[in-house]
């Protein structure tokens, strides 16, 4: 009925009616996608009640007895959980310090190239590893840096000491960061490059005419222009800080042992899905999710305080 004829909207303006059936068609189009989100996100979200229960396979999710905050209390007294948290935070911080600047630097390098064929070729090559699965990336690293890999082959031929990288718990953290850089630093340049191309050429020109050299132009024109993007990416990274490459860790956990490679996500996996302690594992996962959401919220607030746009208004 509302779709027929002329009607007034809330502010009293006349609005031309949409053709008959318009609203219905859009709702119909929405349905499959909406159903997916309702079932597999909100339905699954409900499943988090298991964090407050003791899972009994025979009774299922809804029949299992409530234990209140018992799972969370257990978690706080569990040294293995805290080891996983510590590992997670360590790896996340290392990635923040060593990975985060690489795409930015690479983007600046690519943007400074005046020959577009060279730039496009390097871009194409650098984006590629992003599309390679973690299984293959880990296998590639084994093949190049492993005991019988290429690097040790060359070192051995040259009569030098071979290096123990793959499967060495002490080398695990740098290795993990190196893998992330190899896989995603190239792809990470896209967003910076987009920001760089949007800088007004005239600003550079004006700065150059005023006598600013390359460094001062970089400092006073380039950096301010890409600052919002950097802040945005930092905030998003912060929300994700407790997820440090679940697949990457799981694939290599056997080789180096849980001491080095257990992170919160693998902890949840081994306690819950492998160990069957669903309630306890879900409690740990829920904590992680809540802290992640909280971090995004706080970081966004801080960004607003500093006069940045942030992720959402």
């Amino acid at each position: 009925m509302a779709a027929m004829g002329v009607r007034n909207d809330r502010k009293g303006f006349q609005r031309r009616a949409a053709p008959a059936g318009r609203g219905r068609a859009l709702i119909l189009l929405m349905l499959p996608g909406l159903a997916y989100f309702l079932v597999f996100h909100y339905g699954a979200l409900l499943g988090n009640v298991i964090a407050f229960k003791e899972y009994v396979p025979f009774d299922g999710l809804w029949g299992s007895p409530w234990v209140g905050l018992g799972n969370f209390q257990r978690m706080f007294g569990d040294a293995e959980f805290w080891d996983a948290v510590l590992n997670t935070v360590w790896i996340a911080l290392l990635q923040l310090v060593f990975y985060f600047p690489v795409p930015l630097a690479l983007a600046l390098l690519l943007h400074s190239l005046t020959r577009s064929t060279v730039r496009r070729f390097v871009q194409s090559v650098a984006y590629l590893p992003h599309f390679i699965s973690w299984v293959i990336v880990v296998a590639l690293f084994q093949q190049v840096l492993g005991d019988t890999g290429m690097l040790n082959g060359y070192l051995g031929d040259a009569g030098l000491h071979t290096v123990d990288i793959i499967g060495n718990p002490d080398a695990f953290r740098p290795l993990v960061v190196a893998q992330v850089i190899w896989k995603d630093a190239g792809w990470g340049t896209i967003i910076f490059l987009a920001a760089l191309t949007q800088v007004d050429e005239q600003r550079y020109e004006a700065a150059a005419i005023d006598g600013a050299g390359p460094w001062r132009r970089f400092w006073h024109v380039t950096l301010p222009a890409i600052r919002p993007v950097v802040v945005l990416l930092l905030i998003m990274r912060l929300g994700d800080i407790l997820s440090v490459g679940f697949e990457q860790m799981l694939l290599q956990r056997d080789a180096v042992g849980p001491q080095a490679a257990e992170v919160i996500d693998t902890f949840v996996y081994f306690r819950g899905i492998v160990g069957g302690d669903y309630g306890y594992a879900a409690a740990a996962g829920l904590c992680k999710g809540l802290i992640g959401a909280l971090l995004v919220y706080v970081a966004n607030k801080v960004a607003h305080r500093l006069g940045e746009q942030g992720v959402y208004a």
Binding site: A18, P19, A25, L26, I27, L29, M30, P32, G33, Y36, F40, Y42, G43, L45, G47, N48, I50, G60, L61, L109, L113, T114, S116, F121, V122, Q123, S124, V125, A126, L128, F131, I132, S133, W134, V135, I136, A139, L140, Q142, V144, T148, M150, G156, W182, I191, L193, A194, E205, A208, F246, E247, L250, V268, G272, Y278, G285, K288, G289, G292, A293
Partner: protein, 296 residues
């Protein structure tokens, strides 16, 4: 843009040192990406004897042979897994694209009934994903265990892809919608005849993202499927990365461990489809398809 070097008039000519430094850095980037691929392809093409003599890898095979590929494609686990991966990728990508396009289109039209709350509902899942255990229990309760549906349905629509497509649809000039509507086209007709033909670049990129995600996925398979239904990446993980024997069912020659050449051949087969579609699609990445989403 031409292949000619373009340098604005105000920019100084770089010093030779700077240029040499850039050249070194760029070469390093290209080599770091390409050499590992060269090593696996070369090793897969070498004879097992050559690989053993060189200590486990080959940079350039002396006598290239396709024996490793013939061995693994001769029926058996890898051949089957290849079929599973191809099937899941094809069906999954089609279903995902269909559901993402329709939802993105509905959410991109101003004044769609319920558009605002649905959009918020969708975006919230980005901030707070349900978690591994609830997902697992849901798949179990829905009876999807050990079915290929468990690889597709739980990851059917990706929020990032949805936002990319929605941003792209919103960028289509409103006049086109108006004109189509005056000609009597309904929303479905507008989507099919106006929006989709204009969105080929965005569809290609999003389609590639879905296809790559399905092709590369192994964790859900390890979680939900029995080993005789595994896709290629999970087979690769079990036999190459974790180093369990591959040979019994595949090669039938009774050796305990798969020769290095065979392992590398599996690795190459798992990589080739990505390398094959990549050149056709990578040109779209720079066309601003993704940057539209960044701003919205």
């Amino acid at each position: 843009m031409s292949a000619q070097a373009y340098r604005p008039g105000w920019m100084e000519k770089p010093k030779p040192v700077t240029q040499a430094g850039k050249a070194v850095a760029l070469t390093a980037v290209v080599l770091l990406v390409c050499v590992p691929f060269l090593v696996i392809v070369s090793t897969s093409l070498a004879s097992q004897r050559e690989v053993v003599a060189n200590g486990g890898w080959v940079l350039w095979p002396e006598h290239p042979t396709l024996k490793a590929y013939r061995d693994i494609l001769d029926g058996g686990i890898v051949t089957h897994a290849l079929g599973v991966s191809a099937g899941v990728t094809f069906v999954g990508t089609l279903l995902s694209l269909a559901c993402t396009v329709t939802l993105a289109y509905a959410l991109s039209r101003p004044g769609a009934t319920g558009g605002r709350p649905v959009l918020l509902l969708v975006l919230f899942t980005f901030l707070f994903p349900p978690g591994m255990i609830p997902n697992f229990l849901l798949v179990k309760e829905l009876g999807l265990l050990d079915s290929y549906g468990s690889l597709v349905l739980p990851v059917l629509v990706n929020v990032f892809n949805l936002v990319v497509l929605r941003g792209f649809f919103q960028g289509i000039p409103e006049e086109l919608y108006e004109a189509a509507r005056l000609d009597g086209a309904g929303d479905l007709r507008v989507l099919w005849s106006i929006v989709l033909p204009l969105s080929k670049a965005a569809l290609a990129v999003v389609g590639l993202f879905y296809a790559v995600a399905y092709w590369n996925s192994w964790f859900y398979a390890s979680l939900y499927l029995e080993s005789d239904h595994w896709p290629l990446q999970q087979v690769l993980r079990t036999y190459v990365v974790a180093g369990s024997g591959l040979t019994d069912q595949t090669l039938g020659d009774g050796t305990v461990n798969a020769p290095q050449t065979v392992q590398m051949a599996v690795l190459v087969i798992a990589t080739v489809p990505i390398l094959a579609v990549y050149p056709f699609l990578q040109k779209y990445f720079t066309k601003g398809v993704l940057t539209g989403a960044v701003k919205s």
